[in-house]
Assembly symmetry: C2
Homo-oligomer: 349 residues x 2
Amino acid sequence: MYNAKAYSAASETSPLASTTIPRRDPNEHDVRIEILFCGICHSDLHSVRNEWSATVYPIVPGHEIVGRVTEVGSAVTTYKPGDLAGVGCLVDSDRTCAQCQAGFENFCPNLTLTFGSPDKHLGGVTYGGYSESLVVDERFVLRIPSNLDLATAAPLLCAGITTYSPMRRRGVTKGKKVGVVGLGGLGHMGVKFARAFGAHVVAFTTSPDKTDDALRLGSDEVVLSRDAEQMQKHAGSFDFILDTVSADHDINAYLNLLGVEGNLTLVGAPPKPLGVSAFSLIMGNRSLSGSNIGGIPETQEMLDFCGEHNITADVEVIPIQKVNEAYERLLKSDVKYRFAIDMASLKSE
Amino acid sequence: MYNAKAYSAASETSPLASTTIPRRDPNEHDVRIEILFCGICHSDLHSVRNEWSATVYPIVPGHEIVGRVTEVGSAVTTYKPGDLAGVGCLVDSDRTCAQCQAGFENFCPNLTLTFGSPDKHLGGVTYGGYSESLVVDERFVLRIPSNLDLATAAPLLCAGITTYSPMRRRGVTKGKKVGVVGLGGLGHMGVKFARAFGAHVVAFTTSPDKTDDALRLGSDEVVLSRDAEQMQKHAGSFDFILDTVSADHDINAYLNLLGVEGNLTLVGAPPKPLGVSAFSLIMGNRSLSGSNIGGIPETQEMLDFCGEHNITADVEVIPIQKVNEAYERLLKSDVKYRFAIDMASLKSE
């Protein structure tokens, strides 16, 4: 066991502040990673403030982790010191259940989340990426393509896989018409992936001032979702819509834009139930789905795809000392489009 | 043009009553069918009472039609006088759109419903199956397997295809765990099909007194949906759930029973929006769909499947003079499980 510098919150009303946390020494299957950048996901904020009522304090959030391998266990075969490495939302699972066998560790009933899950090695809960290093079994370490900028690659580990996975599973490809609702951390990745898959991409936004950016990110069209006439023009025409909005909104307005057998997938989680009209689904055999990150093989596939197509997030890099301020700005959607913490800033703590 | 005996409603507050309606003489592609039985679908009642605010009066409902061919046009190749024949919800479409080309005439933007759609031949609207005969283009006539009892086969034309189609598309087969919510006209067909497909079938009902019948119809298990403990035992375990309930109900209670990538398909249409928790969908990549009858090829496939497996509806046969009383009983779910009108009773009008 060793101590690592980190930022943690002591309670749901406490700011994140400098601390040290225990990390295990690498066992034979483990990889120790010096964390270079960690993205800020909105679920970090939900967890720090206990908005899902499940937080164990102190909490060290962070699951969009990129860094460099500094040490490997004796049985590790896939990484060596000096390699780039990524860690997403998962650091362990039971490896024996049907989901694990199928590469969907994200649905393992015994998965270990990167932060806030019971820590099988040290007791207490797992600590995430707002830290100078972490130790992870190699099975849960991702390879980061060497051509990607590391700060902008960090958000791929959650925002990337969250948007990539449902589009891949729903067959988003050339010839398909794809909508992306909401242009934030998730939505801007959704536009980039849909474009890279060759689809015709329509971004929906409530903010006219995001139009230029939506086009720059790869949208073919931008629709102002509060303009009923613009919306009506697209009625019944979409193969797939990715809905990244975590605030309450009228889901039927989007369901009605789907064509026959069209699918809308939620990756944002509005706190109140969505009022879904049965007719919106029955007319056209439409479906409304949710999607929750992805398994390890799929996450690696996504990273490799990003390497080939040079896709990363648009980020604003901050020192960790600005993390509480960044949370406030996140609440106002005042970031284009993801914060990434430069973990070198932790050295001065 | 000729006159046919029928039952029609003159306004949303009028009972159905004896009348005569015009029918076209068969053109070269048409088949004239003497109607022997017509099932009563809940949507007949919705339409007669203008509950969807789109009814043109007078209305002759009925789209679960079986009968015998009495005359065919000169170009008709697939039917001859004496053949058994069925007509479902559709009697025409544009035949040129992508949906028609793909055999999904049910999603043609220019489809003609069996009753209540503009009648291209005679003007006014189309008149349905509560009538002694009708004339339909052979492309929209279905073949009824000769081994099926005609009264019990009639509901296959709507209740049958409505439940068969989503299960087929969602891959219900041996090894799958399938739920059927609600044991009425649709639900009892859902249980029969799921059983015939080889799935493990669980019927959900609010009525303990339906348990024996649910087992008789082919369920392997029956769950009382108001018993939270019974429900919890099945959490996360279903591949597919067919929800046939058209009253308000807690959809999340069923979504949470789905396993990873599980699907719940609505074929009933509750009038108020369903309150769908985004988390219910996101956890497990679940989906909520709707399904709306089926195309002509799929309907024929369903009928052929029913012929092979000897599947028909459980019906109570009534004379047409009892149709208004049957509507009242339908509102109280007082039928096991579908009414079929014996159209011979129309001869005395």
